[in-house]
Amino acid sequence: MSTSTPLMPDDRRSLMLRLTFMQYFVALLFGALAIGFWIFQVAQYDKFRDMAEENHLRRLPLPAPRGVLLDRSGKVLVQNQNTFNIALVREQTKNIDQTLRALARATGADEAQLREIVNRRRRDPSYRPIVLIENASLEQVIAATSRRLELPGIIYQEVPTRRYPTSAMAAHLFGYVSEVTETQLKQADYKDVESGAIIGQAGVEQAYNRRLMGTEGNKAVIVNSLGREIDVVKSLSYDPKEGQRLQLTIDADVQQAAEDGFFASGFNGAAVVLDPRNGEVLAFTSHPAYDPNAFAAGIDRAAWNALNTDELKPLSNRALQGRYSPGSVFKMAVGLAGLEEKVITPEFRVFCQGGQSFYGRYFKCWKPGGHGSIDLRHAIEQSCDVYFYTVGNMLGVDRIHKWATLFGLGVKSGIDLPNEVQGLVPSTEWKAANTKEKKWYAGETISVSIGQGQVSVTPISLAVYTATLANGGTRITPHLVKAVDEGQGLKAMPAPPPQSQVEVTAEKLQAIRDGMWLVVNGGSGTAARARIEGKDVCGKTGTAQVISNQGRTAARTTKNLRDHGWFTFFAPRDNPEIAGVVFLEHGIHSANAASVAKHILETYFAKKEGRPLPHAPTREDMRLDLRDSFARPGAPVGGN
C-alpha cells in the first residue's frame, strides 16, 4: 500500500534547511511576543493596574451631614433632615436623552433643565451619579419608581439636607448652601471639593464651611462591565463624618426679638446686637431676608432670578454691606474727639439759636427755635446740631477722622462673616487721594460733624463703635462662634483679640456716656421710648438723609427717599453687657428704631433674669411715628 516516495538525499537537505528556517522564524515571533507581554505586564504594569481598578472599582460619595448650628445656650438653630434626590448614573443607560425625557414626563421636571445639569457635569466619570432633582417630593419619587423600566440609570439617594428655621430667621447670618459652582471649583479654596458637593455660599455656612462640611463618606463597590453592583469592598469604604457642630454666640431669643421687632415695624434694615465685653454677637439680622431652605433644596431658576432682580436686594446683607450716613449717632465721636484733643471740656457751652453761619453758609439745627445755651451732655441728649457744628469746626476734619476711626467707624469690624465692606470717614488725606477736587474745604467739616456729608458707615461698624464707647475703649472684634465640637464635645473657641485698645480718659468718655443716658432717661431726650425701668439704657438716635433737602423738594416724594432711622444703644450704663444698633431703612424717624431696640433689650433682660419673655410686639406696640415731617426747604439740616 505504500506508494509514497521516500526522500532523496538532496531533497532531504533542502527540506531540513527549510524546516530549520521555519523553526527560527517561529522562535523569533515567540521571542517578540514574550517581549510584548513583558512590556505590558512588567514595564507598564502600574498604568494597567490602575486602569483595571478604575474599570471595576466604583467609589460612590456618601454626602456627610453638615455640622449642626446651636445657639449660645445649646438650642438647635440649623440642622439636617433627610430628603430624596433623584439622580442619573450615565453608564447604566444607553440613551440618556430618552431617560431624561421619560423622567421629565414622570416627575413634571423641566426637561431642558435636566439636560443642562447633565451637560454641566459631562466631564465627571460616567459612574458617578448626577443629581437631577434635589429634594424630590414623595409623589415624584413614587412616579419615577413606578416607571423603573423606562428609566434605566435613574437612582434615588437619601441625603441629609439643611433645615433652617422658618420665616427666614437670621437668614443673612446663617447664609445658605448650594452646589459648588464651576467657578468655585477652579479656586484654590475649593481645591479638594468634588464637583456636585454642597458648600456654604454665604454667612456662617460660608465662613465656617471647612468645619461644617464634614468628610464625605465613600462606598467602594465592585461593578461588572454593565455597571451592576456586585459587591462592596469593605476595606475601601467608610462612613461619612458629620461636620463639626458649632455653638454660635447668638441668643435665639434675642435674635427672635430682633426679627419680631422688624416684622412689627414693617421696615427693612439691619440690627446687630453684641456683648460689648467680648464681642460675642447676640443677634444679627438683615431685612428683607430670603428663605435659605429654598437653596438647600436646590433653588429653581425663577426663584433665583426673583431674588437677584428684587429692587430691595434681599440677598444683600445690609448689616455688613450696606453703607449709610450715620447722622447724629456720629456725634459721640465728634464730642469725644473734642474732649480728647482738649478742644473742649464737658462743661463747654454753645448757644444754639436754631442755626449758625459757618464760612458764609447758614447751617440749621434740627430744632427750629434752638436749644439755647447747652453743654456737651445735653447737646448729646437733645442732639443739638449747632453744638457739634461748633465743636467739629474747632477740631477740623482730620481729628474727627482720627477718633471716629479709633472707635471703629470707616474701617472693617473684622467679624467672621464673608464680604464685609468698609465705610468711610473722610479726611483731608482721603480727599486729596480720592477726589478730583483734592482740597478739603473747612465748610465740609460742618456737615461731617453731624454725621452727614461724606460719612458713610455699615451697621456692624456702628455696633462696634457703640460697644467701644460702652466698654471704655476696647474695640472688640465681633464674632459668631462660641464653641466648636471637633469630635470630643463642645470646646470653647477662643474669642478673637480686640482690634485695638483706645487710650481714652475715663472721665471724658463718661461724659459722653452720660449724654447717651440722658437720651433715653433725661426726660427731654430723643429716645425716651427706649427707657426700661432700672436698666439705665443708654443710646443715641440718628436720622440720615437719603437725599438733600433740595433734591427731596425737587423729586416727587417717594417711599425710597425717606430718611433712614438709626438707634445705637448699650445697657446698663455701668458695666454694660449688651450693645448694638438698629437701622431702619427709610424708617422716617429714629424713634421707630428705638422701639425695635427696646423690644430687643426687654427680651434680653427678661431672659437674663428668668422672667417670662415679652410677647412679639404688634404694630401698635411699636408706637411708630410715620409722619414724613419733611417740610423744611433750605439749608442742610442735621437729624435729631
Binding site: 506508494t3 509514497s4 516516495t5 517561529v26 505590558f40 505586564q41 483595571a52 454593565l226
Partner: protein, 370 residues
C-alpha cells in the same frame, strides 16, 4: 494496522505537552466561566467547562484514531476526505445553524459540529499527498495553481459563512506545505505583493463592514473605546494588570467581571495573562513553542515527503493561530474570531486540533515502518 512496537515510538513528550496545554485551557475556562456565589444558585463550574471537558475527551479519542490509522492510508484517501469536507461546508451554508450573525455549525442534536475546524488537517493531508507524490516537488506556477484550487474551495466556503478568521488559517497551511515542497521564496514574495496590491480592492469588494471596522479600530482603538475598540483596550488592560505574578486563579477582575469580552474563547490567553501573570505567559508560550519545535522535529524525522509535508502544513496553521491569537489577546492585532488552539473554548476546535496532533504523532511513530 497498529503494531505493538509502534507504541514505543509515540512521542510521549509531545503528547504530554499537548495535553498539558489543553489542561491549562480547561483551568482558565473553569475560572472565567465559574458561576459566582453572587448569582442566585451560583457557586459552581459553568456549563462551558463541562462541554470543553467532554470535547477534550472526544478529541483524545480522535487523536487515537488518527494515530492508529497509517497517515499514508489517510493521505491516499485524502481526496475522499476533502470531498466530504466540501460537502459538509456546503451543507453548513444551506442547512447550518445560525448564531451571532454567521452560519458555521451543523446541529448534531447533542452538540453542534463546526466543519470548518476540520478544514486545516484535511487541506494539509491533500496538499501533502499532492506535493509528496510529485517528484518534482513544487517548483512552478502550475503546481501552485493546483494547490490554489484545493485551497480556494474551502476558503471561499468558509469565508462565506462568514468566518474569515478560520478561513484565513488555511493560508499558512498552504504556504507551509508549498514552502517545504520547495516553492521558491521569490514566488511567495510575488504572491504576497499581489495580495498587497489586491488589498484595496478586497477592502472595497470583499470585506464586510464589521470587518472593516475591526481593522479601523485596530489602527486607532481610542476612537471607539465603547464599541469595537473596547475589546482591544480591555485586552491590554487585562494583560497589563496581570503583572509579573498575576492576580491569582479566579481573581482576575477583568475576566471575572466581564470587562473582557469572549474571555473563554478568543481571549482565553488574556485571562491566563491576568491571573497567572508574565510567569504564566512565559510557561505557556514555552509549552507552545516546545510543541511546535517537537512537531517540526517529527517532520524532520519523517520517512517520506508526505509525512514531512503533512506535519509541516498542520504545524504552520497551528503556529499561525497561536501567534495571531496571542498577539490579539494582548490587544496588538485586530480582533478576529480566531481561537487559540488547545486552550480556547470550542468543542470542534479541540477535537480537530487533537486529531491533527494524532496525525503528527502518527508521522513520527511510523518513521521506521515501510
Amino acid at each position: 494496522m497498529f503494531e505493538r512496537r509502534l507504541f514505543f515510538h509515540v512521542d510521549w513528550l509531545l503528547l504530554s505537552a499537548v495535553l498539558l496545554l489543553a489542561g491549562i485551557g480547561l483551568t482558565m475556562i473553569y475560572s472565567t466561566t465559574y458561576v459566582g456565589a453572587h448569582v442566585p444558585g451560583g457557586g459552581h463550574a459553568g456549563p462551558r467547562f463541562w462541554v470543553q471537558l467532554y470535547a477534550t475527551g472526544l478529541g483524545f479519542l480522535a487523536l487515537l484514531i488518527f494515530l492508529a490509522l497509517d497517515y499514508r492510508f489517510l493521505a491516499e484517501h485524502s481526496l475522499f476526505l476533502f470531498c466530504a469536507l466540501v460537502a459538509l461546508l456546503i451543507y453548513v451554508l444551506v442547512g447550518g445553524v445560525r448564531a451571532g450573525g454567521s452560519t458555521r455549525w451543523i446541529s448534531l442534536g447533542v452538540f453542534n459540529l463546526q466543519p470548518s475546524e476540520f478544514a486545516r488537517p484535511t487541506l494539509a493531508l491533500i496538499l501533502a499527498m499532492y506535493f509528496g507524490e510529485n517528484r518534482r516537488g513544487a517548483r512552478n506556477y502550475a503546481d501552485l495553481v493546483v494547490a490554489a484550487l484545493f485551497f480556494f474551495v474551502p476558503f471561499v466556503l468558509i469565508a462565506k459563512q462568514p468566518d474569515l478568521g478560520t478561513a484565513v488559517t488555511l493560508i499558512p497551511v498552504c504556504f507551509g506545505i508549498a514552502y517545504l515542497a520547495g516553492l521558491r521564496l521569490r514566488l511567495i514574495a510575488v504572491v504576497a505583493i499581489a495580495a498587497l496590491l489586491l488589498a484595496p480592492v478586497a477592502w472595497k469588494v470583499a470585506l464586510k463592514d464589521y470587518q472593516k471596522s475591526r481593522i479601523n479600530t485596530f489602527l486607532d482603538p481610542e476612537k471607539d473605546s465603547r464599541g469595537a475598540g473596547y475589546q482591544q483596550i480591555q485586552a491590554r488592560i487585562t494583560v497589563g494588570s496581570g503583572g509579573l505574578k498575576g492576580k491569582g486563579f479566579m481573581e482576575g477582575t477583568q475576566g471575572q467581571y466581564k470587562f473582557l469580552p469572549v474571555a473563554d474563547n478568543d481571549f482565553i490567553f488574556s485571562v491566563l495573562a491576568e491571573e497567572q501573570g508574565f510567569i504564566g505567559v512565559l510557561v505557556t508560550l514555552g509549552l507552545y513553542l516546545f510543541v511546535i519545535f517537537r512537531a517540526l522535529e517529527a517532520a524532520r524525522l519523517a520517512k517520506d515527503r508526505i509525512g514531512a509535508y503533512l506535519v509541516g502544513g498542520i504545524i504552520s496553521g497551528f503556529a499561525f493561530q497561536v501567534i495571531y491569537n496571542v498577539t490579539m489577546s494582548a490587544g496588538l492585532a485586530p480582533v478576529k474570531g480566531l481561537t487559540l488552539p488547545l486552550m480556547s473554548y470550542g468543542g470542534s476546535s479541540m477535537i480537530a486540533t487533537l486529531a491533527a496532533f494524532g496525525l503528527i504523532l502518527n508521522v513520527r511513530m511510523r518513521r521506521f515502518t515501510n
